[in-house]
């Protein structure tokens, strides 16, 4: 490669506290691009191991655009096997860590082994330094961050990761999370409390001139995209801009998905958060959008999913408690979606809703694994199963659903089911076309054509996660423009179809990995509630239950399109 990649990666053995610099194979770059693709490729041969086994790799991987002037090039991926779902699992993360890792000279890092005691790993241009971290054990992420140099980038776990909470996250650079799937617990199992990186080298670009032109083509499209740079778009309000829209579409998960409409969501809308907290823009390295929002008092403003799940899903209209819940999850190192959803499930089982104070107290109990928190720390599926009511867990493959009710968007329903990491809105992101009307609008209440839409979108998002670009950019731009960005950076000659072929390869390998771990078509399903109960109904809008036969028909089509020999009998 003539640019984009450093050509080196780090293999770190935490048990022996040794490290080696290896050459990034060119085939790996050609066949898997980077990020999620690198992780999936490197996990082959390990995927049937227990997520907490010392031999289970934990991989942090950048993409070829990271560290270059490409738009939204500041992301990276964290990949391993999830202790929550048992599936292969990757998280796309923002912040500066990926850029620093690239600039210190590495495309990716593979951690294996378990350190005898809590350890801090510092990555420098010269290699790796292991430092004891027993004094950091038990500290919240906020407390640890107070002791770190401001010019460092870092990833760390909080008490939840140390205590193997099944949905523990890894917190990077203050408030960028490898949130879902419990990869923080995988890190905890390795006794790895903190990773730092300090890099300021340059990443080579094949053609600065071509990159400038390709970048301008992307930027022009972004400026023309209301969901991004429009006055109500992500750049202005953050992802919380979606609160009002999802409310208007009557598809906001409410009371553990018993309803899809919460009258009070305006109390935590993007506008409300912006005015109450006087927010300013912040975001990932190299990003023109800056969708992260921070209050004037330093408050980290919750993302849409967090706000909606600590709001409507738990019948809570108290904004300050939602912001505090987000803060607590970050401090303990917890995935906000799974935390909120597990508490909502517990609430339904208990037969009562919780006050804001109780909500916050349950987060602490989960983070500490104390009292009921110990059982809830296993996730809603295991908890509800232990209570004899697994149907009250709103999960697919054990992963809690995010804040788009599938009854309000049938492509989303299918994509939740087929997702290789469980109920994830970002594997195919049909919300883009079913709700945000990008690149075109489609009928959200129909399965017509959705099987192929979802398949292509899954492939495309596997590419995006491997580049490692931001999905929001693709509300405006397409792989057509990004192929030119990639070629300008690396000197390759990719086009839309060659990239989609890579995406398909990654997807199929993930599927095969899940199959090796016992997943079948029966796991490509939605909770029963969505087939039986309506979400909402008034004189203008009806959110009916999903027609199971139509869903299964779409699923069969999806298998045929993918070439999977699955029977749904």
């Amino acid at each position: 490669m003539e640019g984009g990649y450093t050509g080196r990666y780090l293999a770190v053995d935490l048990a022996e506290q040794t490290w080696a610099v290896e050459e990034t194979p060119e085939d790996l770059c050609n066949e898997f691009l980077g990020g999620r693709g690198f992780g999936v490729a490197m996990l082959r041969g390990h995927i049937t191991k227990d997520p907490f086994s010392p031999d289970m790799p934990l991989i942090i991987a950048t993409g070829p655009l990271v560290g270059t002037p490409s738009p939204t090039s500041g992301r990276f991926s964290v990949i391993s096997r999830s202790p929550l779902t048992g599936t292969v699992f990757d998280c796309s993360v923002g912040g500066r860590f990926g850029t620093r890792l690239k600039k210190v000279g590495f495309d990716f890092v593979v951690f294996t082994g378990t350190s005898p005691d809590w350890v801090r790993v510092d990555i420098t241009r010269e290699g790796v330094v292991f430092n004891p971290a027993h004094e950091l054990a038990g500290l919240s992420t906020g407390e640890v961050m107070k002791h770190l140099d401001k010019d460092l980038s870092y990833g760390l776990i909080g008490p939840a990761g140390e205590r193997f909470v099944s949905f523990a996250s890894i917190v990077f650079d203050g408030h960028y999370l490898a949130g879902r799937g419990g990869l923080g617990a995988v890190m905890g199992a390795k006794h790895l409390k903190l990773i730092t990186v300090r890099g300021d080298g340059a990443v080579r670009v094949y053609s600065e001139e071509k990159l400038k032109k390709a970048r301008e083509n992307v930027m022009r499209l972004l400026r023309a995209t209301p969901a991004i740079f429009g006055e109500f778009g992500l750049s202005n309000f953050g992802t919380a801009a979606l609160v009002d829209l999802i409310h208007a579409r009557r598809m906001e998960p409410t009371m553990n998905f018993r309803q899809s409409f919460f009258p009070d969501s305006g109390k935590y809308s993007g506008y409300r958060m912006k005015t109450v907290y006087d927010t300013k823009k912040t975001g990932c390295a190299g990003c023109p959008i800056l969708c992260k929002k921070q209050g004037s008092g330093g408050e980290v403003i919750p993302e849409f999913e967090t706000a909606s799940h600590f709001g409507a899903l738990n019948e809570n209209n108290d904004l300050s408690s939602i912001v505090e819940a987000n803060h607590l999850c970050n401090d303990y190192g917890l995935d906000t979606i799974s935390t909120a959803s597990t508490i909502a499930c517990y609430s339904e089982i208990q037969g009562r809703s919780f006050s804001p104070e109780e909500l916050l107290s349950h987060i602490k109990l989960i983070g500490e694994r104390e009292g009921i928190g110990d059982a809830l720390a296993e996730g809603s599926l295991r908890y509800a199963g232990s209570q004899g009511v697994p149907e009250l867990s709103m999960t697919v493959k054990g992963l809690e659903l995010p804040a788009y009710d599938p009854r309000g968007a049938y492509g989303m329903a299918l994509a939740y089911a087929t997702s290789n990491r469980g109920a994830c809105h970002l594997r195919a992101y049909p919300i883009s076309y079913e709700i945000l009307r990008k690149p075109v609008a489609v009928n959200r209440f129909s399965f017509e054509g959705k099987a192929r839409m979802v398949k292509i979108s899954e492939d495309m998002n596997a590419v995006i996660d491997s580049l490692t670009a931001c999905k929001f950019v693709f509300f405006g731009a397409s792989l057509e423009e990004y192929a030119e960005v990639l070629n300008a950076v690396t000197g390759t000659s990719h086009d839309v179809q060659s990239l989609l072929a890579i995406g398909e390869r990654i997807w199929d390998i993930e599927r095969e990995m899940n199959r090796m771990n016992g997943f079948t078509w029966k796991d490509d399903n939605l909770p029963e509630r969505f087939f039986r109960e309506a979400g909402y109904e008034d004189e203008k809008v009806v959110i009916p239950p999903i027609d199971r036969d139509a869903f299964l028909d779409a699923l069969r089509r999806y298998y045929r399109i993918r070439g999977y020999e699955e029977s749904t009998e």
Binding site: L221, A241, D244
Partner: protein, 399 residues
């Protein structure tokens, strides 16, 4: 999938882009569906098209041989309109923002089609004067790319012809043939028809009904291709505006209600020109806005005598004060960025009821209903077309 294919087959026909018998529209789900009659007429095209669908990760593939005058326009552009590397490079906003350029292949060879469509949204097949486009999410994308390509080629042809006449005075060796073909093509182009228009729906007290009616009329009169343009009205602190990526003749369920005070972000799905509309309403003079892409208005906006250092930047920063029919022409790109039309259009509408955006389209605004903005747009387009042909005729006669 069949329903979707048939819907866009009808739209291609209704909007005069191609006749059903000249269209092959392939929809790919777990099997391939075909709409249109082209493959019945030319069965040999079936195999190459099916091969393309097998080799591309797409959900629809559209081959259409456009109706006249597009068919002749494509012929002409293939003769003299290509860049050094064989592409067609229109300079209108549609191309600049979305299409980038339009590649050409000699015949319907799968290798060439796949190669071209792996880089661009549409490709011209020289041997049949056809256009191939595709969709990855919906057949609607293939329809939109087809419509967009035809619009851009139309603008390029007429713009480049007059520019050519101005540069050569119609005296080079190709002039005779080019002028002859131009006269033939020109005869096939008509101004928007003013006859038989029922304006009353545009004046409906029901804002939704008025917007829906305005959208249908704009499309019917050819003042905008269905997918482009936008419409809004302002009443009681609410902006009623067409949603982004909506078809203007199908706005029944595609109108956002956006509070003027910004207190709800539900307008995230509104037209990308919402900031411009909102700024216009903020000035207090207008309550109804139409935005269309009438072709000769767009062509006229790009015809400039000034010899600029970088004509590629005219679209976003032209310093000239120009006008068509007394209507000012401003620069600006789509959206709300630093070069966005939000910075130019509202300012211009402070003192007038219409403003043309370079290479892009026109905004017309009114106080009481959509009637005057609509009539104004019709009038400007008619004038722009007449003025265009007057200038061309002057060269033809001189020669």
């Amino acid at each position: 999938m069949k329903n979707l294919l048939n819907k866009y087959l009808r739209k291609l026909s209704l909007q005069g882009l191609a006749r059903p018998e000249d269209i092959a529209f392939l929809g790919i789900d777990d099997q391939v569906f075909i709409a249109g009659g082209l493959l019945d007429k030319k069965p040999l095209l079936r195999e190459p098209l099916l091969e393309v669908t097998e080799r591309m990760n797409i959900n629809s593939l559209l081959l259409a041989i456009p109706t006249e005058p597009m068919r002749s326009i494509i012929d002409e552009l293939l003769h003299w309109g290509r860049t050094g590397n064989g592409l067609l490079l229109p300079r209108d906003t549609e191309t600049r923002t979305f299409l980038h350029d339009i590649p050409v292949v000699t015949g319907l060879k799968p290798d060439d089609i796949v190669e071209a469509l792996s880089h661009r949204k549409s490709v011209i097949v020289e041997s049949m004067g056809g256009i191939v486009t595709y969709g990855t999410i919906s057949p609607e994308q293939a329809f939109v790319f087809m419509s967009s390509t035809c619009f851009s080629l139309f603008v390029k042809y007429f713009h480049d012809h007059l520019k050519y006449l101005k540069e050569t005075k119609g005296r080079d060796e190709y002039a005779e043939a080019r002028m002859r073909r131009f006269r033939m093509i020109g005869r096939m182009v008509n101004p928007p028809d003013r006859r038989g228009i029922d304006y009353s729906p545009l004046e409906s007290e029901d804002v939704h009904k008025a917007i829906v009616a305005a959208g249908k009329l704009l499309v019917e009169k050819g003042l905008v291709d269905s997918y482009f343009g936008n419409i809004s009205a302002f009443r009681d602190g609410i902006i009623y505006i067409s949603e982004t990526a909506s078809s203007l003749e199908e706005l029944e369920d595609a109108i956002d209600e956006v509070p003027m005070d910004g207190s709800s972000s539900v307008g995230i799905t509104a037209s990308s020109e919402l900031p411009a509309h909102r700024a216009v309403y903020g000035k207090g003079r207008h309550r109804f806005i139409l935005h269309g892409h009438p072709r000769f208005t767009v062509i006229g906006s790009m015809l400039c005598e000034r010899d600029c250092d970088d004509p590629d930047l005219c679209y976003r920063g032209c310093p000239e004060e120009r006008e068509i029919c007394g209507v000012p022409i401003v620069s600006g790109e789509v959206g709300a960025g630093p070069y966005g039309i939000v910075n130019t259009v509202p300012r211009a509408l402070e003192s007038t009821d219409a403003v043309i955006v370079y290479g892009h389209g026109i905004f017309t605004a009114g106080e009481d209903s959509f009637r005057m903005p609509f009539m104004k747009m019709m009038e400007i387009e008619r004038y722009a077309m007449e003025e265009y042909f007057r200038q061309v005729d002057a060269f033809h006669q001189k020669r």
